[in-house]
Each structure stands twice: as C-alpha cells, then as structure tokens.
C-alpha cells in the first residue's frame, strides 16, 4: 500500500512523537508514505474564519500536490481531516468556483481535479479500517494489549458534520477507534467525552471553557477506569496532555491519565517499546501504560 502523506503542522512541531511513531508504524505495516513536503497548513478552520477562499485555495494546493503523485492521500490529524474536507466539499460542489481556485494554482503548474483517479483524503484511522483492514492489522499484532483499558477520543473534526465526512458511505466512522482498540487486544472504555470537544480551538480565547472541557473528559475517563486515552488528533492531544495539569486544576482533581496518539497505540501492539514511540515526551505520565504491558513482551 502506497499513499501520499500529509503529516500536518503540529505532528512536526509540538508533537514530534506522533510523526515519529507514524513513520515506524507505517514501515511495519508495509504502508509506503510519500511525504508531501511542499504542502501547506490546512488552516485548521482559523484561516477560513479570515477568508474562506484563502483556506479553500491552500487546501486545493495540497490536494493538487497529492494528485500529482497519483496516490490517495492520508493525514494523521482530525483537524486537518475536517478543515480539508470542508474545503473539498466546496471545491467539488461548484465547477466555476473550482476553476477560479485553480487559477491561483496555475503559476505553480498544478491543478485540483475533482474525483481524479478516485482521489480521497483519509485520516490514518479511516485508512486502517477501510483500506488496510482490521484482520490484516490483527495479523501484525505481536504484543496484544492485554485488555489495556483504552478510552477513545475522536476529535470533533473527524465526527462532525456527518454530511461532509463521508458518513453516508461509511456510517460507522465514529466507531472505528473502538474497533481498532479491540483489534489490538485492548478493552474499550465507554465514557461521556469520546466524541466531545477537547477545547483546544479556544485555549487562547476562552481559557476556562477550554480547560474545563479537557478536564471534564479526562475526569470522566478516569471514573470509568481508563488506563489511557487514544486520539487521532494532535490538537486534542495538546489540550488533553500538554494542558492536562492545568485542566485538572480547573476540575479540582489531582490525578493524571496518559493520552496516546493513535500510531503509538498501534505501535505498542506491533511490538515497539514506549520509548521508541516517544511516549516519554508526554506531559501526563505514560508509565502506567508501560507497566501494564510489561508482562506481555513483544514476541
């Protein structure tokens, strides 16, 4: 399997452990990733807030660069998925608008073509379930997660709005994390926050709202006995992990909960050590997760 790969900004900035673990995991799963080094930020919904056309053109450029490779495109960030799907919906909806946007790309000699070779942009989570296949994934597991209790945390942009994110064709996309956790030998923790907002988008604007959201979800997962959370979104990771100590203060709780990136959870089951996956770089300690798996050496 070979895919054009858009790692996003944050996986190469504040969460390099995500980018690194994705590379290891892709290699072991025999997924070849062709990195889109020239591509630009998706705008994360913020640029669209300033100028919708600008956000649409920036993402049309990324899609055009991916289409040049002749491959499908993969991202590892719920926010990239949502922001890019929003722009793609507008680009695909109107040929005159698309032509107008492509004008801005002509200088670089590239073009976004609707539906070219069945072009799709998918988060790693969707690729795993829909294209790679859970049976194939299971066959690669060398260290089943020994009923590690994992709470899924999706990130808003990959679950809403449903009409824009392919839910008509794939209605269970908001259940994939649960399926992956089970395929890896973990146990799904059901708690209130799995599909709620981490609060990250307003951390610099409405800090209390933001931290209260993150703190509430971590708290709920702890109450349900989670060993850790897992998320396909590095921005959620920033609020749930990096901001966790502040968030827990807001909800008056003195505990912590490890928050793993999706490729890290997959990587553990594929036999990588926590340190190889950069889990020592997290703010909320991941030691408990490592201890839980200590009795299950990678075969």
């Amino acid at each position: 399997m070979k895919l054009a790969y858009w790692p996003g900004c944050v996986s190469r900035g504040f969460t390099t452990e995500l980018h690194g673990s994705m590379a290891l995991v892709a290699d072991r799963l025999e997924i070849e990733l062709v990195s889109l080094d020239r591509a630009n930020c998706c705008g994360a919904g913020v640029i669209a807030e300033h100028n919708q056309e600008l956000a649409d053109t920036l993402n049309a450029r990324t899609f055009a660069l991916a289409q040049q490779t002749g491959l499908g495109m993969m991202n590892i960030c719920s926010t990239c998925q949502g922001a890019q799907s929003e722009c793609q919906q507008r680009l695909d909806a109107d040929s005159a608008y698309r032509a107008h946007i492509n004008e801005a790309l002509s200088d670089e000699g590239i073009e976004y073509v609707k539906g070219k070779q069945g072009f799709e942009n998918k988060n790693f989570l969707w690729v795993l379930v829909e294209d790679y296949g859970l049976d194939r994934l299971k066959a690669k597991v060398t260290r089943p997660l020994d009923r590690l209790r994992v709470g899924p945390f999706y990130g808003c942009y990959i679950v809403r709005p449903k009409h824009r994110l392919g839910y008509e064709e794939h209605p269970d996309r908001d259940l994939y994390l649960e399926r992956v956790i089970e395929a890896l030998g973990g146990e799904v923790v059901t708690y209130d926050g799995a599909r709620k907002c981490c609060g990250f988008p307003v951390i610099t604007m409405a800090r209390d709202t933001s931290l209260r959201q993150a703190g509430t979800h971590v708290s709920d997962a702890l109450d349900q006995g989670a060993d850790c959370l897992v998320t396909p979104c590095p921005l959620c990771h920033l609020n749930l992990d990096l901001q966790q100590p502040e968030a827990m203060k807001v909800v008056n709780r003195d505990e912590s909960l490890a928050v793993l990136h999706l490729p890290q959870l997959v990587g553990l089951a594929l036999g990588f050590e926590p340190s190889e996956l950069g889990m020592n770089r997290h703010i909320a300690s991941t030691e408990w997760v490592a201890e839980r798996l200590v009795g299950v050496p990678a075969s």
Binding site: G45, N51, E53, Q89, D92, A93, Y97, A104, V202, T216
Partner: protein, 392 residues
Amino acid sequence: MEQATASTESTTQSYTLKVRRFKPEEGEGPYWQEFEVELDPTLSVLDGLLQARDREDGSLSVRCSCRAAICGSCGVKINGNSTLACLTQIGEAHEGANRLDGGSKPIVVEPMGNMPVVKDLVTDMESTHWEKVRRVTPWLLDDGDPPERERIVPPESMVDITQTIACIQCGACVSSCLSMEVDPDFIGPAALAKAYRFVGDPRDVESRERLYDLAQDPHGIYDCTHCFSCVDACPKGVAPMDQIMRLRRAAGDEEGIDDANNGRRHEKAFTKIIEKKGTLDEALLLQESYAAGVKGKLMPKPAAIKGLVGSLPTAVRGMRTGKMRSLPKLIPGIHPKLPGDAQRHVKGIYAHAEEHHTELNLYITGEEDVEPEPDEEELSQPEASSGPKENE
C-alpha cells in the same frame, strides 16, 4: 384504501422507548421508564411517545404541535443526539440505538440538554434560550426615519441571511452545545445565529455595535469551540456555527474590532504565519496571539499579558519533559519555511484570495449536479471509487 390499510398493518413493529421521566410534583428525582409501542418504522419517535401517552400513561409530558418539523416544539435527545422527535423515524432511531451490536436495546429519549427540566421531556427554554436570544437585540435597528412605503433592498443582499432566517427556535443546537455544557453563560448557537441575521441585514444600521458587543463579551463569539455539534443537531440546516464564524469574520476582518478575548489577534497571527512559513510555527502563534508585535510596535493589552503569563506553566512543563526539547520549537520565528519555491507559491495564493475574497455558501447555491469533467472520465479506474489507491 384497503390496500393502504393492509400495508400499514403488515409493517407495524414493536419498539421500546426508554424515557427519562421527571415529575417535580412528586418530589422525587428523575427516573427511567420503558414503554412498548407498536407502529410503522417510518412513523416518528414523537408518534411513539404520543402512543405511549395515549395507551399507557396520560401523565407523560412532551411538548408538540405541528408534527411536521415546522413549529420547533418537540426538541428532545434521542440516543444522545439533540433533534426533533417528529423528524426522527422510529425505525432509524431503533437502528441507531443498536448500531454497536445489532441487538434490541431500547430507544433512549431524554429532555434537551443545557436546560432545566420542567417535567419529563418538557424543558424550560426561558433562561437558556429566549433570554439569550433577547440578549442579541433580535430586531432590526434601522436609521429611525420610517420610509414612505417600504425599505427597498436588492434581493441578492438578503440572500446572505436566508440561512439564519430558516431557524425555527427549537433549541436543538442549544441542547447540543459543548461550550454551553461547560460555560452556561455562553450566548450560544441559536442566539448568535440570530445575531448574524441582523448583522448581515443591509437595513440594519447598528451592525458594527452589535459586532463590538459580541466580540468583547467573554461569552460571545470567541467562546464557541468550533465543535460542529450545532451543525449536526439543527433540523433546518441553519448551521449556527457557520454563522458564528461569519460573525468572527465580520468583526475581526471587516470591522477590525480588536477584542479583549484575543480572537482577532489569534486569527490574524495564524493567517500571517502561514503566509510567511507555509506551515504553523506554534511558538510564534502563541507569542503573536497574546502579544502581537511585542518586539516592536504594538503593546499587548493587559488581558493578553494575563493570557501569556497563564500559558507559561504549560510551556515550562513542556520543556521539562522534552516535549518541546528541540530549541527551534521554543523560539518564535526559527520554524523552517517550505522547501524551494513553494513558499512563493503560497504567497501567490494569498494575493489571489485576498483580492477576490469569494465566499461560497452551499446552503444557498446548492451542490451542482455536473457531468464528470472530460479528463475525469478517461482517468477513472474501476478501483478508483474505493479509498486511497493501493499501488503495490
């Protein structure tokens, strides 16, 4: 006629509704009660509730009127999703309740969220909906001189607010709002969508004042966490969050309102960084969001300094654990640019988009039903319809 009756009878099925009951007059807390109902899967959850009331318990309270998604009275939560009971087919609700394991779990019906419950499924919308709607001055503020006949505006200038006019005040968006869940003072999606209805109206002469008010309020437009819950919940396609983003665009960009919440600063900083660097320099974003141009011209506002100081413990922790170990990640501005001439092309895109500033609203224009473009047809491969392509 006979045929219709026969077909209705043959498709009638049994469903279980698990309803969250609350009878304040009995002095007890809320409790769950299950009702068995029998009806066609294409009939609504509201039909099911009314059948349960008629056949089993006349005290079961639910607010409803038109039964056709027009009046907006029957807002509830069905399997956790805020919606109208009359707009949700009971067969689909049953499938929704059992999508995990295909079993026969009951359909869960609760009163709307973020609101006090009056009785059973009836909520008090006064404090969390109507009061907030009144908060945004939901009427036209014109120039005061009544025209001789009517105020004439070109039809296209009203198109912009068509989407917000579709609101039926059902409260489903308020019920679903994840910001309001943690901040009950948030003005909220319904009221803010209503605000855009007047901000976008060419006859309104107080648009700037409205925007200033909503941008400065700590529970205003910058308190929305951009979670899309209201977009999915709205039964009329109003997409309240989209309207909030348009309010932000109008306040920050068009009116240049420098709000105390750092909303405009954050958006400007983000946009500027991508123009310069192509990808996000988070350290620079943090610095610029709180204290734009601290190196030179502008002085940050007191609120911004407070915000910057507030974020320091987080940054220090990040350094300690090695999360931000590499130096370039900590120093604003050292972040690498895109390779080769890519950055020049990104700048070109900025120039083009800033010149045109096109805003495409699919609610108004719809999605065109186009023939495939010529090159699509010849490029399309049989396997092309399924996901990212495999090239092995």
